[in-house]
């Protein structure tokens, strides 16, 4: 799988990222490349800088130094308004929890990105319903996140992240709060859909069995990439 990384230009590339939270360094010169349609796992111990790396790549956080290039654009130089738009149109995010609005039903949560993009309520609901069905949670469409199981809520989150047809999905410990069986369902749903739609996935996890769903693995230690983490 590492073969195609040499052929084409990467979809998203970070070079020499450094980022310090207060006085704690989170990233010290991390470089990562993500290719179109590729599923990349970023692993490492707690505090190794995994989440900060994801935040920098997704344009949520601006790195102190280094560059993030997405499709030829320097994300680290874009104004916040453009970044927000990009996150809405080209990226999808799945966190461990918290990305669903607690007061909205599953259907409205998934429809939200479409409404933001200007779709009508009916059209947004129709497409949101299709995605819920795809992830096997259509039966829960009228429920609010607090009324669903963790696994169901995460599948709704996946639907919300994928409903706009993003180029990249950023998943930060998407199975972190789930038991292994629910985690497996969420991961295979994510991987299948991403492969079908040729969506690239940046997957943050500390769990090797979750990382094994990816095509490739990058290991972080103390805010930098461990050499030879890549499968030979």
């Amino acid at each position: 799988m590492s073969t195609h990384s040499e052929k084409s230009a990467p979809l998203l590339a970070a070079r020499g990222l450094t980022k310090t939270h207060g006085r704690t360094p989170a990233l010290r010169g991390a470089s990562v490349e993500l290719h179109a349609g590729e599923i990349l796992a970023v692993t490492g111990a707690s505090g190794s800088g995994k989440s900060t790396l994801l935040h920098c790549l997704a344009g949520i956080v601006r790195p102190d130094e280094g560059s993030v290039v997405y499709g030829g654009t320097r994300l680290d130089r874009l104004p916040e308004k453009r970044l927000s738009e990009l996150r809405r149109t080209d990226f999808g995010v799945v966190f461990q929890f918290g990305q669903l609005i607690p007061e909205l039903t599953a259907l409205d949560n998934v429809a939200l990105p479409l409404l933001l993009a200007g779709a009508s309520r009916g059209e947004a609901h129709r497409r949101a319903g299709e995605w819920l069905e795809r992830f096997g949670v259509l039966g829960q469409k009228e429920l609010r996140p607090g009324e669903m199981s963790g696994g169901q809520a995460q599948r709704v989150s996946l639907a919300r992240a994928l409903v706009t047809g993003p180029k990249v999905v950023f998943a930060d410990e998407p199975t972190g709060a789930l038991d292994s069986l629910s985690g497996e369902q969420v991961m295979s749903a994510l991987v299948h859909t991403a492969r079908e739609a040729r969506t690239a996935v940046l997957l943050i996890t500390h769990d090797a069995q979750v990382a094994a769903y990816a095509d490739r693995e990058v290991q972080l230690r103390d805010g930098a990439v461990v050499p030879l983490g890549v499968a030979a």
């Binding site: 939270h21 308004k81 996150r87 809405r88 918290g98 409205d108 409404l115 947004a124 992240a161």
Partner: protein
């Protein structure tokens, strides 16, 4: 005694180690307690004086027992918005505090200890406020009279002690669920409090109203005096407006969630549908001020009209006496409005702070800040509109009725009273908007890092 000292030490340790939000709760609680003490002391001192005095204040309004009663009632009624303000302050960092107390319980503290520690925490904050207010008040009083009699001092001491004691009692009472189920409260992230429309607040307001009426043994001087009817109208309108807030929240939420295609409206409406009474609870004091304010403007209109007619036949000193009375009442309404709006701003800020992680996640997912800001304002705007309208109508009724009583066939419509509900609505929106800078800070990705 060792019990008490160890609890005091724990309370102090917890207060010292708490974060900025807890400190702001302590500070705002102290301010609220200070205001309560100030108004309470004023009313008490007035109640303990009888007969005629010469008080070099407010154009001689405090000289006569009759008008003194009016001022006293006004001061007592000012406690209502103060209570509303304090109840908003108690919400600051409430989730965090409840978890911490439940943690104490898990660590082996008895239910009694937890209650005492919590009571001490808020009691201390109230004590600071009450002490400062008492000292200032006594200095002010010494300026006015050489030597107040002993029972005045007793009254002052009583109020100064009662405020912190009541604060401690109320917070101990509010914690009974935390004490009862420590595990449940550690795990639960959002307290699902869905009580009625601020029942406690209404009860407290009624009690204060009755107390005020009892304290004013002497009838009001001057014009047609305070009638029970007025109070009944005020109370009924308030209850109606609070109920309407809840009902309107529920109805507008249901209609909007079914139809709207705008994400900001959708988010605001769904939040209202989830807890329609939350808005009613928060806005109860706003509605009370609207009723009283609108009514006052009507009364003022009628009184001034009447005074202007009589002016040629009246000495100038008497004229000032009456206008000062009206201005003083107006000032009291404004003070009440200011306190209420502060409470609203505090409540809006707290509601944001509680949801900060989720909001940061929304921003990370690309939901524009403008959408989140508009949703935040709509949450206040949607339920408040019909309620303020009803409150305005109620106040207007009082005003017009008073105008008819005073002026007879010669009454006129107090158009300026119509400005009150509009102004209150606009000011409430501005108060809610004060939390927008906080929203900006909340949406920073650093909030994503910790739950």
């Amino acid at each position: 005694m060792t019990f008490a000292t160890s609890d005091l030490r724990t309370a102090w340790l917890l207060t010292r180690g708490s974060d900025r939000r807890e400190w702001s709760r302590v500070a705002l609680t102290a301010v609220g307690a200070g205001l309560a003490t100030g108004f309470g002391l004023g009313a008490t001192v007035l109640a303990s004086t009888s007969g005629r005095y010469r008080v070099p204040l407010a154009a001689g309004l405090l000289d006569e027992p009759g008008t003194r009663s009016g001022v006293m009632l006004g001061l007592t009624l000012l406690l209502v918005p103060v209570l509303g303000f304090l109840s908003q302050c108690a919400r600051i960092g409430a989730v965090h505090r409840d978890r911490r107390l439940a943690g104490l319980r898990l660590a082996g503290a008895t239910a009694g200890q937890v209650r005492r520690i919590a009571a001490l925490e808020s009691g201390l904050a109230c004590l600071v406020g009450s002490a400062v207010a008492t000292v200032l008040f006594v200095l002010f009083l010494r300026d006015l009279t050489e030597d107040p009699p002993g029972f005045v001092w007793a009254g002052i001491a009583l109020v100064a002690v009662a405020v912190p004691v009541l604060g401690a009692l109320v917070s101990a009472l509010a914690l009974r669920r935390v004490v009862a189920s420590p595990l449940g409260w550690v795990r639960r992230v959002r307290p699902a409090a869905r009580r009625g429309p601020g029942a406690w607040f209404l009860v407290a307001a009624l009690v204060l109203l009755l107390a005020g009426l009892l304290m004013t043994r002497d009838p009001f001087g001057g014009y047609a005096t305070a009638s029970v009817t007025v109070f009944v109208v005020v109370v009924l309108t308030c209850v109606g407006a609070v109920w309407l807030t809840g009902a309107a929240s529920r109805l507008s939420a249901r209609l909007l969630t079914a139809r709207t295609g705008r994400p900001d409206v959708l988010i605001a409406a769904e939040r209202l549908r989830e807890d329609p009474w939350a808005a009613a609870r928060t806005h109860a004091a706003v509605l009370l001020v609207t009723v009283v304010g609108t009514g006052f403007m009507g009364v003022r209109h009628a009184l001034l009209r009447d005074l202007n007619e009589r002016e040629p036949r009246m000495p100038a000193a008497d004229m000032t006496y009456y206008t000062t009375g009206i201005d003083l009442a107006g000032a009291a309404v404004l003070v009440a409005l200011a306190i209420t709006l502060s409470g609203l701003a505090v409540g809006a800020a707290e509601s944001l702070a509680t949801r900060r992680r989720g909001l940061a996640a929304q921003a990370a997912a690309g939901v524009p800040r403008t959408v989140l800001s508009r949703a935040l304002l709509l949450e206040t705007a949607l339920p408040l509109a019909p309620a303020v309208l009803l409150a305005g109508v109620g106040g207007m009724t009082i005003g017009v009725w008073y105008g008819v009583v005073v002026g007879g066939a010669d009454w006129s419509v107090p158009y300026e009273a119509l400005l009150v509900p509009v102004a209150v609505y606009v000011l409430s929106m501005l108060a809610a908007a004060t939390s927008l800078p906080l929203l900006r800070r909340t949406l920073r990705p650093a909030e994503l890092r910790y739950a």
